[in-house]
Symmetry: C2
Subunit: 353 residues, 2 copies
């Protein structure tokens, strides 16, 4: 009686970044975009034919795939879409990381990589970032079952030049290399410029950050047709319909408004520049940020305590109680007004301390 | 060079039911609802605050979970939602089927069960339906790692009384029993009436059929708080945000319009009654249908050939080239007009043959 409990999967409990329900908070904790999606997104939503909803969506997500392919100048057979980049990367783990050799990723990085590795029983080894939180290419030269890292990295915000990525690719022709570019639009050049030369390179991006659509769950991967076909085959084999009709229509509208997109990026980068100055003035130090967040530490303020103080004052940032980074806070770049409120508060704390 | 290909996951290619792009076809092949979603769904879409989209959705899907809980008179801690019932059932396989003993399901059933079993390395045994395509409760008495079956079953449309389900539950107190009720609203009483007495019973339903929202990908499971917590823990451990904001808003609106829902069901059942008469008059035989489709066979017409003839005439139904059912066609109940067109065509074929 009741022995069914013996067969429950045991998992590490995970707590997603807080999504507080109160209004009037300053939310700088989950790297969301402070600006709304492109105006065309609202229009697409209001004009959508709801009769479409009674039918299954196109399993190939054709309208969205085509729009992404046009935007990046690649073929539709080079684009895979999923329910956020988490879904896309999980599918890539399943599709590509089936060697008995360990996959490699940095010790400080996106926290879901080890989770997916465990889930799909993929062995892995982490490679320590250097003292400036930089990836060392030579750490990735050894035999492995695959390589994955974000660029810019999370939660450090550090962007690595393409020369480093090409160095890693040069030394890894026998495995799939995934560059997770969730934040690339706020940084420098994308590794997309390398996909024609490296058929084993998969670049993953998302609508959640630079396109202001975290709420819609849209991510995508771009790579050689062979990589994309392998992912699609895996996906179709066990779950045909994942992208709902609204994601297809609204995603298409978002990616087609290039001017709005560029303007949004410009504004966030300008606020980031200002924020760097303010943080520096207040005595914080930080890695040069490539993403829409900045990873800061202060010589006198204890990060955990500051995190709590901010929270009590309705300003939410992110704190990671992990080795090497437990004295840092990750602060999303919000609007100028939101950042002003943050700096006013920090000013007060520092003057009082 | 290029050895990364050695580590691609090898999968059985799967072809989802056709979603033809032509207009002016009669689409009776994927069990979609012929009527649009409730009017409130369109309203919810048009009135949604697009600024919400820049934020991550509530990972607990609270507004949708609460609406489902209210509709079924259960606690919010008894409801799990996912991206269609495929996602919900896959999550249930991962969460509950971790025994070394095989899980049991019928030989003729939803084609994804063996796929998920293989994906998550769950051993399984199929149990043959009897000559009338009925489930034999005693086949499920033996030691096993879990039980799953649809009620009504697919693609037979056969509904089993709750007495059979309770018989199976009585003999399976040490494993999780999943009743996949994708089509229950077109049939008889739901196994939901048993969840208070069987804490190991999980009932899975969907918005894709009776609520006309296949395009939105919303499924849910209802069971004891302990089962639901186990599924949520697994889900959060590797993918926090799967339900997008539009699904939450529009799903809530759909489930809150009980009158529209009941009216829709009544219309489809009435068309099903008429269709049974017409099929019988034309010499077809069929299992008494419980779902929004009917599984028919004809003594003189070859099923595969008829499927092709219908297709050439822009009428799409579903044919399965599988043992025991290769002389059957699965025909979704459409509008009266769609069914009239089907019957006029069948009349012609039969008179000519």
């Amino acid at each position: 009686m009741g022995n069914w409990r013996d067969n429950l999967r045991s998992v590490e409990p995970y707590t997603p970044g807080e999504q507080p329900k109160e209004k009037d908070i300053i939310k700088l904790n989950t790297n969301e975009n402070p600006y709304p999606p492109a105006p065309g997104v609202m229009k697409a939503m209001q004009e959508m034919d709801t009769d479409l909803l009674r039918r299954y969506p196109d399993p190939t997500a054709g309208m969205l795939v085509d729009a992404i392919a046009r935007r990046y100048g690649v073929g539709p057979d080079q684009v895979f879409v999923g329910v956020g980049s988490d879904d896309v990367i999980a599918m890539a783990f399943m599709s590509f990381f089936n060697s008995e050799k360990p996959i490699f990723f940095p010790d400080i990085t996106y926290s879901f990589y080890p989770v997916w590795a465990d889930l799909f029983r993929v062995p892995y080894e982490t490679k320590a970032l250097d003292e400036n939180f930089a990836i060392r290419a030579e750490d990735y030269y050894g035999e492995n079952g695959g390589v994955i890292f974000p660029n810019p990295n999370a939660p450090t915000s550090r962007y690595e030049d393409l020369s480093l990525i090409e160095d890693i690719l040069q030394h890894n022709q026998d495995c799939v290399v995934i560059v997770d570019e969730a934040y690339i639009d706020f940084a420098g050049e994308s590794a997309l410029s390398l996909i024609d030369r490296y058929e084993n390179l998969l670049v993953v991006q998302t609508f959640s950050k630079s396109r202001s659509m975290a709420g819609m769950r849209i991510g995508y991967a771009i790579g050689s047709p062979e990589l994309i076909k392998a992912m699609s085959d895996v996906k179709y084999s066990f779950n045909s319909y994942t992208m709902n009709q609204t994601s297809l229509c609204m995603g298409k509208a978002a990616i087609e408004d290039e001017d709005y997109f560029q303007d949004c990026i410009r504004r966030i980068r300008a606020t980031r520049d200002r924020s760097k100055e303010e943080f520096a003035k207040l005595g914080f130090s930080f890695i040069e940020p490539g993403a829409n967040f900045i990873f800061v530490t202060h010589p006198r303020l204890e990060a955990r305590k500051l995190f709590q103080q901010l929270r009590e004052n309705h300003i939410y940032v992110r704190y990671f109680d992990k080795p090497r980074i437990s004295e840092y806070l990750r602060v999303t770049i919000g609007t100028d007004e939101e950042m002003d409120a943050l700096f006013a508060f920090l000013h007060r704390i520092i003057n009082e301390s």
